[in-house]
């Protein structure tokens, strides 16, 4: 697992590297599951560990494997006005958004814990959610394909709809006024591995 993830410390090309044959994805999955099952407390806190809270120290292995990318300035964000960026690479389904919700949110950064970022593709069948942000409900959707909606205050959990999981949340770090994307929770639509395509 570590070997793979080290390869992805810089932006990856959209297509995966040919060396996959020697390193089947299943092995990654199993070893990562093992890590989660054996790391009790860290497992339970891993989702809140995205801000500068003390728990962050408990999950360095998961966060450190993704590129650290400057995506926006805190001072430029206006409430309910999403800004697009690409992450973790410039490949397919990398389009994401960062938004200041104006209310505290799971994984939120900034003085009000209200700045969050998410991948833009519906985890049901890959519908594009760009342009569907709703300020009154702090949500993305309805997806134009099959109407799924997601709650951005709660780690992108499905509100109503057919998606098989939450919207992948882009983990953020704040350094002064700079907002960095540093990881993704949840598999991005279309990919079999977030970092390999």
């Amino acid at each position: 697992m570590t070997k793979h993830l080290q390869k992805s410390s810089k932006s990856l090309p959209s297509k995966p590297l040919p060396s996959k044959k020697d390193h089947p994805a299943g092995k990654c999955l199993m070893s990562r599951r093992q890590m989660l099952f054996t790391s009790g407390v860290a497992t339970a806190t891993v989702m809140v560990a995205v801000s500068s809270s003390p728990e962050a120290a408990k999950v360095p292995a998961m966060v450190a494997t993704y590129p650290r990318k400057l995506i926006a300035k805190l001072s430029q964000l206006k409430t309910d006005k999403p800004i697009g960026f690409e992450y973790p690479d410039e490949g397919a389904f990398a389009q994401s958004m960062v938004v200041k919700l104006g209310v505290a949110a799971g994984g939120g950064i900034g003085p009000k814990d209200d700045v969050v970022a998410f991948n833009y593709f519906c985890t049901h069948q890959g519908g594009d959610l760009d342009g569907t942000y709703k300020g009154d409900t702090k949500s993305l959707g309805a997806c134009p394909l099959h109407l799924s909606t997601y709650d951005l205050t709660r780690h992108g959990i499905l509100i109503s709809g057919q998606a098989y999981q939450s919207l992948p949340q882009v983990l953020l770090e704040l350094d002064g006024d700079d907002i960095y994307a540093v990881g993704v929770f949840g598999l991005i639509f279309g990919r079999y591995d977030n970092l390999q395509g």
Binding site: S14, K15, P16, K20, K21, P24, A25, G26, K27, C28, L29, R32, R33, L36, F37, T43, V46, M47, V48, G91, A92, F93, A104, A105, G106, Q125, G126, D128, K134, T137, S139, G141, A142, L145, L147, D151, T153, R154, H155, I157, L158, I159, S160, Q162, A163, Y164, Q165, S166, V184, F185, G186, L187, F189, G190, R191, Y192, D193, L195, Q196, G197
Partner: protein
């Protein structure tokens, strides 16, 4: 069980080239989307790669939108022939029917998580038979458990009569199992103390359809798309039969269909319909009949009825009265106690009655229903007003929110509305149920109606009400198969209390190591007026298994045995076995056969599920899912029935199935298809052509247009309606949770989304009570009406709620259920809504345990409750679980 904390995966293994591909269909909702299971061994690590030549999908990753993506929840590891295997289960992208775009709901989409895997929360699957010895459920061998159950069961039915042996079973969980269960219970035990999971007695779910002549599942899915106006009552298909919406109705709406939805909640489907020119009829609970009849009244007054259709396809006074042998008495509405209450002499007679009822004036109906009267006029216009000399093609769909509010009245009223708009027998002009479970029932015996002691004066006997029968202490042996029984019925907390008295508090409990001693103890339980409980299920269910069962039999289910079943357009598919059942779990047909053989019944020597299917085939003849000719074809070709059906893959074939002259099989697109031309020479060989193919299920083949008096229900409605601080209290399914959550409670993501039962409440109602989203609520009532004994009466008029109240046969009981407040704009003011079958917070406890007087069904969707805040839930101020955002975001 899972906790509400879920850690998402960020990668998933792909099936390699050469992975085995097994077809099946989803286990859950009525739609039954086709799925493919990709299976490959864990050993060797030969997972697929991201290039087309490296994986079983022939697809390059990342895949396109709508492509064969695998979400981590679609992968699992199972045992196949004792060896660990990966399975990836995704909707079949190649199927031609049902989920045509390879679409799936959240429920079916994650069905891989259903599979038993000791590393997931499925680890508590029942793996061996168990017996409650010294108060603890302990594993015992199959023979030991079966011998004891059979000995006690046989004793009870011979000593106390067949009706002391109660069978409460699912109606749907595959043809092989339901055939075995009904053959055992109805033909051999021959008990009238028998019913299905969703009703206290074995009766028709939609009496109005039955009497009008409509089959519940006549339409084809394409009809719902092709209707120009579609009225949907008591359900949002997007929430509960998703693909029927996303692949059919939604496409209809995109083509300009006017979709009218009658439902007190504005969920995503309703919001989508409204946004695209549709209409929301936001009725108060139990007032559907008034609104339906008001729409009918507007149509009749304007002369918009389909006169040609009525002339050709609706009974006049001669047709209405024509019977078979027994004259006018042999029609169901007359069996149902209220002679003359429903029957008409045809359209004109019905219209005369309709116009004479002041409560059906649009303004009057709108007032009680709490809706804008303009919506009634608009709905009537859309459904029936001709434009440029052309009538709109109108269809009507109903489901439980509608037919479980005023069971007889609502279904009678909607049938008449369907008839006058010309719905029922033509493409795009249909009427039917949307459906709940899939259609997996195949009767192996006839219900022994004459053994039911429940009878309405001067009329035919009524199927025994198993709940009042059990409350009265007449059930001495309860055989419960794949249902919670308690929480699924109304007034659950009183039922539970009675089980406690009859089973747990009885002094005769198993405190022995000796088989004969145990048998004798349980016989003494039955003799002393107590009750013995045996339970077949896949998980230990609380309380029926966990607290009450003396003996538990572990069942094998979807994917663990090969089965057959039909969906909501009668489409039959083979559900292939693809992995080993956990431990010693066995399919229900096998458990029943082993019991039957021990009880001395013949005809249970099946070797496999195909044997059961083949035996059941001839009993399907003439039914809506007649599959007998598939067996005939199989025999000709030297195949088994399962093999032959399997050849149809996920496409399946729609029942009734016929054989053509060249030996090929052909299905039936829709029933009551008045445009269908059958061979003039009639049915050849073993084919069965009956009335329902081209006509209606009535005494003449034409529809009966019936009256639907509000007065048969209004006393209950008036008594029930909220008093003081009460609110209407109803319940139903939410998209993300299927049924009792037996699988969903073991899916971390779903438990994260819905950790507890919830109480949807309008912001005004919440404000008045000082309630905010995330507060923990007590939902309670001190007037839950319960029938004390079976219905008592002499005159027809005694058979009403007020009649039973007067006779002292209704006891007012209390109920209390907790839930998390969800203050939301998407529910109508004055109404609260809960998940209908959260087993630990059972909303049905608040609904009256009073049957519909005519049909014998419960009106589950109509109760009242008070609500108060008792604290704050853990979900109010944390972000990890639940969401309080509304379900109507478009």
């Amino acid at each position: 069980m899972s906790t509400p904390y879920y850690i998402p995966e960020t990668n998933v293994p792909l099936p390699p080239k050469g992975a085995e591909v097994i077809t099946t269909a989803c286990d859950y909702c009525i739609v039954a989307c086709g799925y493919k299971v990709y299976r490959w061994p864990v050993a060797g690590g030969h997972d697929g790669g991201p290039k087309a030549e490296q994986n079983a999908f022939d697809a390059d990753f990342p895949v396109e939108a709508l492509g064969p993506w695998v979400a981590p929840n679609q992968h699992n590891i199972v045992l196949h022939k004792g060896e660990p295997n990966h399975v990836v289960i995704i909707p079949d992208k190649d199927t031609k029917f049902v989920n045509t775009d390879g679409d799936s709901s959240l429920r079916g989409g994650c069905i891989a998580q259903k599979c038993y895997n000791p590393q997931t929360p499925t680890r508590d699957r029942l793996k061996s038979p168990m017996m409650r010895i010294y108060g603890i459920l302990q594993p015992v061998p199959w023979d030991f458990a079966l011998d004891i159950a059979a000995a006690v069961g046989n004793y009870v039915r011979t000593k106390h009569g067949a009706n002391a042996y109660g069978v409460k079973t699912y109606s749907y969980q595959y043809i092989e199992n339901t055939y075995a269960i009904t053959k055992y219970a109805l033909r051999h035990v021959n008990t009238a103390n028998f019913t299905f999971h969703d009703t206290p007695s074995d009766v028709s779910s939609t009496p109005g359809f039955r009497d009008a002549g409509f089959d519940n599942f006549a339409p084809a899915y394409e009809d719902w798309m092709n209707a120009e106006t579609l009225l949907i009552c008591g359900t949002d298909p997007y929430e509960t039969k998703t693909i029927l919406w996303t692949q059919w109705i939604m496409k209809g709406i995109q083509n300009g269909q006017k979709c009218i939805m009658m439902n007190p909640r504005r969920t995503a489907g309703v919001a989508y319909a409204e946004k695209n020119g549709g209409l929301w009829l936001d009725v108060n609970l139990g007032t559907d009949l008034l609104v339906v009849n008001a729409i009918a009244r507007v149509i009749a007054e304007n002369g918009w009825q389909d006169a040609d259709w009525i002339k050709n396809w609706v009974n006049n006074k001669w047709g209405s009265s024509s019977g078979f042998g027994q004259g006018t008495r042999n029609t169901p509405w007359q069996w149902r106690t209220t002679w003359g209450k429903f029957q008409t002499k045809g359209y004109d007679d019905w219209k005369k009655w309709l116009l004479a009822q002041d409560e059906f004036k649009p303004e009057a109906a709108a007032k009680i229903a709490g809706i804008d009267v303009a919506k009634i006029y608009k709905a009537a216009e859309w459904m029936a007003k001709p434009k440029g000399g052309k009538r709109p093609k109108t269809s009507i769909m109903i489901e439980k929110g509608f037919y479980w509010s005023n069971n007889t009245g609502n279904t009678m009223a909607i049938s008449a509305l369907a008839i006058i708009v010309g719905a029922g027998g033509r493409p795009g002009q249909v009427v039917g149920r949307a459906g709940g479970h899939q259609r997996g029932g195949q009767r192996g015996g006839k219900y022994p109606r004459n053994k039911s002691p429940m009878k309405v004066p001067g009329r035919r006997r009524r199927a025994l009400d198993t709940d009042t029968w059990t409350m009265s202490g007449h059930t001495r042996f309860a055989h419960v198969i794949g249902t919670t029984w308690i929480q699924s019925m109304c007034g659950s907390q009183q039922l539970s209390k009675r089980f406690e008295e009859l089973v747990v508090a009885n002094p005769h409990q198993i405190r022995s190591y000796d088989k004969q001693d145990i048998i004798d103890t349980l016989k003494r339980r039955a003799d002393s007026g107590g009750m013995v409980v045996i339970n077949q299920d896949i998980y230990l269910v609380d309380p029926i298994g966990n607290r009450y069962a003396d003996i538990i039999f572990p069942a094998a289910t979807w994917g663990e045995e090969t089965f057959m079943r039909a969906n909501g357009e009668r489409r039959l598919r083979l559900y292939n076995k693809f992995y080993d059942p956990p431990g010693e779990a066995k399919p229900d047909w096998w458990i029943i056969a082993e019991l039957a053989k021990r009880m001395g019944f013949d005809g249970f020597d099946w070797q496999n599920s195909n044997d059961v299917a083949e035996e059941s085939a001839r009993f399907s003849r003439g039914s809506r899912k007649d599959f007998n000719m598939i067996k005939v074809a199989a025999r000709r070709e030297g195949k088994t029935l399962h093999q032959k059906l399997g050849e149809f893959g996920t496409n399946g074939i729609q029942g009734p199935v016929f054989m053509q002259d060249d030996g090929t099989l052909i299905g039936t697109n829709r029933l009551h298809d008045t445009t269908r031309v059958l061979p003039e020479t009639g049915p050849a060989a073993g084919n069965v052509f009956n009335k329902k193919l081209t006509h209606f299920n009535s005494q003449t083949g034409r529809c009966n247009i019936e009256k639907s008096p509000w007065s048969l229900f209004s006393d209950y409605w008036e008594w029930m309606k909220p008093k003081g601080n009460e609110l209407w209290c109803t319940s139903g399914r939410t998209n993300e949770r299927w049924q009792s959550g037996f699988d969903d409670r073991r899916r971390p993501y779903i438990v994260q989304r819905w950790p507890d039962n919830y109480v949807e409440m309008h912001p005004d109602d919440a404000k008045q009570r000082g309630i905010e989203s995330g507060d923990m609520l007590m939902v309670y009532s001190d007037r839950v009406p319960n029938l004390k004994e079976t219905t008592l009466g002499v005159e027809g008029s005694d058979y009403s709620f007020s009649g039973q109240m007067k006779a002292g046969n209704v006891e007012l009981t209390r109920a209390a259920v907790t839930g998390v407040a969800m203050v939301t704009r998407h529910i109508k003011k004055g109404i609260i809504f809960m998940d209908f079958l959260h087993t630990s917070q059972p909303a049905n406890a608040l609904e009256g345990r009073v049957v519909d007087w005519i049909s014998g069904n419960y009106n589950y969707k109509m109760g009242v409750a008070k609500v108060k805040k008792i604290g704050t839930s853990p979900y109010k101020n944390s972000f990890r679980s639940m969401s309080f955002a509304p379900r109507d975001i478009t």
